[in-house]
Symmetry: C2
Subunit: 781 residues, 2 copies
């Protein structure tokens, strides 16, 4: 790594950093996963950061994305450098105006964290279906494949837009790049400013709509001249690839990183080549290295400038030895003659006498994780006598049989890279703690670091998985950690639900946060877990984070405890150093809340280090027997076949056929009744003696877990054991009985109920889940 | 022609006729050129017409096209068969919802009169840039190439949508097909109903959102299942081409017209083939016939089902002898790797060992007229040793040099077809009269008839050109009349402005509506016109329509006079028959206005027949000398180089280089000052004695032609000859002079001023233009 300043940041921040420099106005309507770009811009603007024109950026929030891009158009017409940030449905609303921006040749720049466009269902995750919907609008499209590329190429978009007098869309994969934390080199504004063509800026302002030299735009043209006027724009599109390549060379000169419209990576005499763009590039490069190291001859053409598509540069990127090409598209255009990038490649080669065969496939829709094993399957397909022509990877298509067979996982990451994975509960602090950890390692050590966070759709109290990598070489692995050196389970209820420890490498470290005592583990752990720990020589640790936190008066904020435990076990940096950095960070975070709070949190760090308890895995666990399967109750087929695997985090393995009945997006109702998560670490307990019967606890419960009932004598008499009730208060309920019923298995333990209780002495209190018995019959009554 | 009922109608009406049958709700937001579909639906609904379900269609007008398609989506979700009609920018607003309609697999049908999407400028005319913006939305796209195809294929769209459970866009060329009048066979509702799969309708209703059997749609899916669920829709897209082909066969069984997903036309052993879709099909078929009759071997693949693009059917459409293919796209996607249909064709052939070479070109953008000569240029290009790979036709591209050289016009129409052309003034009744003429010939005789109307952007008082064809064989010529058998000029001012008579065939007929006496013609006609008439043996007639109309008390409604004159000269049907039909039509049109009005109009018909005056063209006119060119005044380059040719109807001949400076759509201001049209046949004259000086005449003039002035003594003294003024009325203007100044050359003769005058005896009266002297200095003063 050069001496340039490095920082840990995600793709959104890297992009916003550059966009801010070149923009005078940012018109926004934030949408996932692009929102942080707008937020950062807002924050910097509020703090008075200056752009390259010594102005603070004016941020305007509009009524929708249609308005945002309209404001960008208006500003651009008036000679103001404008930007916006968007994705998916938001981008769809911009399409009509993109056509005008390109028609008027205005140098506005959009930064898009690309995200799936809603079809049969919405999906907040990343693929290229949104940006591909814009490929015919005449806007230039430049793709970054990593966080570092966002930093390096976002500027190329702005610089080329200004010089080339055309609008740009700079895009990168939503979440995978927009939200992946990476340690990257940062370009400073002085460097960026040195590349700016200020004459081009002046020319842009000179041709703007201006009362001092008024002109007219948005006229209506008839059949006699429209066509000629359209073709008169060809020159600008013809010139643009050269301008982009030139700025890429200049950025390369500053950074030492070599960028082209189409970057080739791999064997100079490759016989098989993949063409793709976006974050999959990292996984492909790793696979190319892996295969070439094993005697194959393969390569990869990474597309940066997708529009204008420069035929000349594209063809020049290929070694002359190539016999077969596979084009990977991250979108599915139903009914099309082929996916978009594939069609570009076909058209590029069509009349070449010595053309390679071209095959096309889809990957990563809705952010389906794309792994080296999948990439290898693509190269393997190209080696077949008759390759599959229209294929998919990452799924099992047992209906239209388009998917390629998948081999075993490949171990592709850089040598010495440490892979860590954390299973947390949404809002339990796991993600935040991991962000701190990676910043500590990234900023305080020479190591490279990467972090990616998976959330499920439940957000708070849903499942989170944190995927962290650390290493001495740059980390290209643009996919989830599935073979972990270190694995942490921050919620004991997960052990029975998810196949988790199976992702540990032999000899790896497993940290379980639980309130089980060592002697209880034999009974509490599922047999499957016990067998894996024993058979794979796992170093097993437990800690009771909640108990420690509560003892320190931190309530259920046990994230620092677990972070400290991680540092003490994962061996990435010496524990003492880590403690120092963590304590500094805690001081910085909590300073404003007072010395007491700082002290408690710093104590939590010490407790985390010392609270970890090594468990010797008994050899007998190898023989652990699974409990007999529970007799199936009356569970609908949809729940059994789809909901249960999905809730068990096994949705990836469901084949296409599983979705035949619901492929139009129709879902049955009432399915949450079958999803008893039991995730709460603390459960409310009702004290009928103290209760005012005000029902506030029920009213505030966000999960509808607390429900008040009135019963008559007959009903009260018939109630099962464990069903508590008392006399109902108030004249209107005279003679009736009152009960508060709490569904332990649906509760998230958020404590809203207890906080809301207005009884003099609280009638609802939170108790550790282990102390609260669950009366199934009582709840169901 | 079979015994089926025939009618003269345009593509919009043909489509609306079928759409009405299959729709329960039509949600609309009308936009040119699709509006008449909504209007017809509204009219039929108001009149109680029943659809196939014995309902009147519910028509809902929304707040925008986004709302219209939203209503279609909502209705479809609720199990209601829904349609909408749109184009261009309206269609752009529908894109996000099209993705949902296809994702939910709802059988909604859009009918699109395809129109240019705004880029550097808006354009209300037709090309495929709007429908191509939707090709990746998953909606099926079915293209009709003629008015008859609209009638035949609109139903295929609805029937296949219902059976295939997918939304359809049925589209056809805006104006060229949507507004072209053709005599076509009409399908009745009984026939259409016999093809409807009522079980599929029931299944559609059964899976709708319904409180009786509630389900959930529009969920959010995560990375684990989104991809599989998407691919689970493949089956439906795979099945759709077969469903469409099946319905095409059924429609073919009814009509005797053979439709396929891809229709082949031409030599069974063709070596060169064009692929295209839309109205250009007619011109291509004519050219194929023309060339094959002269020993060439060429063919044409007409695309009907563009999405889903069926590879199997496409490849099967080609003769095995094909060596080279040219794909014509009616859109320009700036920066793309190729236009959309071209890319489909490349992808279809890419890995075929015996593939032809594929070349792509653009035509007809913004409704640029596409002629057989242009199509021949495409076939000629394919015959070159090295064909041009990315070409354009219909323009001269002297900047990027992509255009193909154009040979002379080909005479391709059906044998015995009569071509007529009428130059009229917007709102002078020419278009309406021609519509009547074609309905008379189409409905009352066995002849085929076609009419197409060109309007300029000025609408009222702009230029109109009517292109009429009549013949004994179906008329496929999908382009303007440029070689006329009969030519009428309805406004004498046009003769000096437009190259008009040059479009007459040798021995053709020229009818001039003018107030010139025969003896004045030698002086009034431009030398150019006189020479052409004499050299090309033109039969020359004049008539003074305005004088006749005014004499009959019809004001300036002289359209019936000229229609009668046309019938008496054009020799398409016997004059007496024509008179009978015209009088019947007049009776029907004016019946409600009283017998007197009917009589006047019928008298106009007789006067038209008899008022025509044959002019013997003197041989000496061959020697007519052009007047010396007027010395150029201080005219800006933009006006001289662009505005003047455009206003002279020579915009088509401007090369691409003429637009380099304004290719981003920027226009200078104030150019109308240089466009002195002088089109008024009557001019207001101000009588200063009668004037109240209320300024109403100025206020109501829509063209800002009448302007009141106050002058002081000095100004009044300096006024040039012919400048009339009087004492200003009112205390505030005491001592000043008052004048109303009228710009004859900008006046349209609409008469609003005279109508608005509230003086006891009118101070503004309209007088024939020839009687009103024009004092240039006075006006400019």
């Amino acid at each position: 790594m050069s001496k340039r300043k490095t920082m840990v940041m995600d793709g959104n921040e890297a992009t916003a950093h550059v966009a801010y420099a070149f923009s005078e106005i940012a018109a926004i309507y934030p949408i996932t996963p692009s929102s942080p770009m707008a937020e950062k811009t807002d924050e910097w603007s509020a703090n008075g950061r200056k752009n390259l024109f010594d102005q603070t950026v004016t941020l305007v929030e509009m009524q929708s994305e249609a308005g945002a891009v309209g404001a960008v158009h208006g500003a651009s017409e008036a000679g103001v450098l404008a930007t916006t940030f968007t994705a998916s449905q938001g981008l769809m609303l911009m399409i009509p105006t993109l056509l005008r921006l390109s028609g008027n040749r205005l140098p506005a720049v959009l930064h898009v964290a690309s995200r799936t466009v809603g079809t049969h269902a919405m999906c907040i995750f990343g693929d290229h279906s949104d940006v591909m919907q814009c490929r015919q609008t005449g806007i230039a499209q430049l793709c970054s494949g990593s966080v570092q590329e966002c930093m390096d190429l976002a500027g190329v978009a702005h610089l080329s837009a200004i010089k080339g007098s055309l609008p740009f869309m700079h895009f990168f994969d939503g979440f995978r790049t927009s939200h992946e934390l990476q340690k990257i080199e940062v370009l400073d504004y002085e460097e960026l400013g040195s590349l700016l063509d200020r004459d081009a800026v002046a020319a842009f302002r000179a041709r703007s709509l201006n009362p001092e030299h008024p002109t007219l735009r948005c006229t209506v043209q008839n059949s006699d001249i429209f066509f000629q006027c359209r073709e008169a724009n060809n020159e600008y599109y013809d010139a643009l690839p050269g301008i982009v390549e030139d700025y890429m060379a200049k950025i390369g000169g500053l950074t030492g990183r070599e960028y082209h419209l189409f970057n080739y990576y791999g064997a100079p005499d490759a016989d098989r080549v993949i063409v793709a763009m976006g974050s999959v590039s990292g996984a492909i490069e790793e696979t190319v290295d892996y295969l070439n190291a094993r005697g194959e001859k393969v390569g990869f053409v990474q597309v940066h400038l997708f529009r204008p598509f420069s035929l000349k540069h594209f063809l020049a990127a290929f070694p002359s030895t190539v016999k077969r090409v596979a084009v990977l598209d991250r979108c599915k255009e139903m009914g099309a003659g082929g996916e978009p990038l594939y069609q570009d490649v076909c058209a590029a080669f069509i009349n070449k006498a010595d053309r390679p065969e071209i095959y096309g496939g889809r990957y990563g829709l809705g952010a389906k994780d794309t792994t080296p094993a999948q990439i290898k399957a693509v190269f393997d397909n190209l080696a077949l006598a008759q390759p599959k022509a229209d294929f998919s990877i990452g799924i099992e298509d047992d209906v239209t049989h388009l998917s390629l067979p998948l081999g075993p996982a490949l171990d592709c990451g850089g040598e010495g890279t440490v892979n860590c994975k954390f299973w947390g509960l949404g809002s339990d602090g796991t993600v935040g703690a991991n962000k701190n950890s990676i910043k500590i390692i990234g900023d305080r050590t020479p190591q490279y670091a990467q972090a990616y966070f998976e959330y499920d759709a439940k957000k708070s109290f849903g499942l989170t998985c944190s995927h962290l990598r650390f290493g001495k070489t740059p980390i290209r692995s643009s996919y989830l950690v599935k073979r972990a050196d270190f694995l942490a389970c921050h919620n004991q209820s997960y052990l029975g639900k998810y196949d988790m420890v199976e992702e540990l490498k032999d000899g790896g470290t497993f940290l379980l946060n639980c309130d089980w005592k060592p002697e209880e583990l034999g009974e509490k752990l599922p047999a499957r877990v016990k067998r894996y720990l024993a058979e794979h020589d796992i170093r097993f640790y437990i800690i009771d984070g909640l108990a420690i936190a509560q003892e320190l008066g931190l309530g259920n904020h046990y994230n620092l405890v677990l972070q400290a435990a991680f540092f003490s076990l994962a061996n990435i940096i010496p524990t003492e150093e880590a403690v120092t950095y963590m304590k500094e960070a805690a001081e910085k975070t909590y300073r404003t809340k007072g010395a007491d709070v700082v002290a408690k949190n710093q104590a939590a760090i010490d407790s985390g280090i010392h609270g970890v308890q090594r468990i010797e895995v008994p050899a007998a666990w190898k023989e652990a027997q699974d409990a007999p399967p529970v007799a199936d109750e009356d569970i609908p087929a949809f729940v059994r076949n789809l909901l249960e695997p999905i809730n068990a985090q096994k949705g990836d393995s469901l084949p296409v056929s599983a979705f035949r009945e619901i492929s139009d997006g129709t879902m049955p109702l009432g399915t949450s009744a079958y999803e008893k998560r039991g995730i709460a670490t603390q459960i409310p307990v009702w004290n009928k003696e103290l209760c005012l019967q005000c029902n506030r606890c029920s009213f505030v419960c966000p999960h509808a877990v607390i429900r008040p009932y009135l019963l008559n004598d007959e009903e009260a008499k018939a109630a099962p054991e464990g069903f508590a009730y008392c006399d109902a208060k108030g004249a209107a309920a005279k003679g009736l009985h009152y009960a508060i019923q709490i569904s332990n298995l649906d509760c998230t333990g958020c404590g809203s109920c207890a906080n809301s209780c207005i009884a003099k002495e609280k009638a609802i209190v939170m108790k550790p889940a282990r102390e609260v018995p669950y009366h199934k019959e009582a709840w169901e009554y």
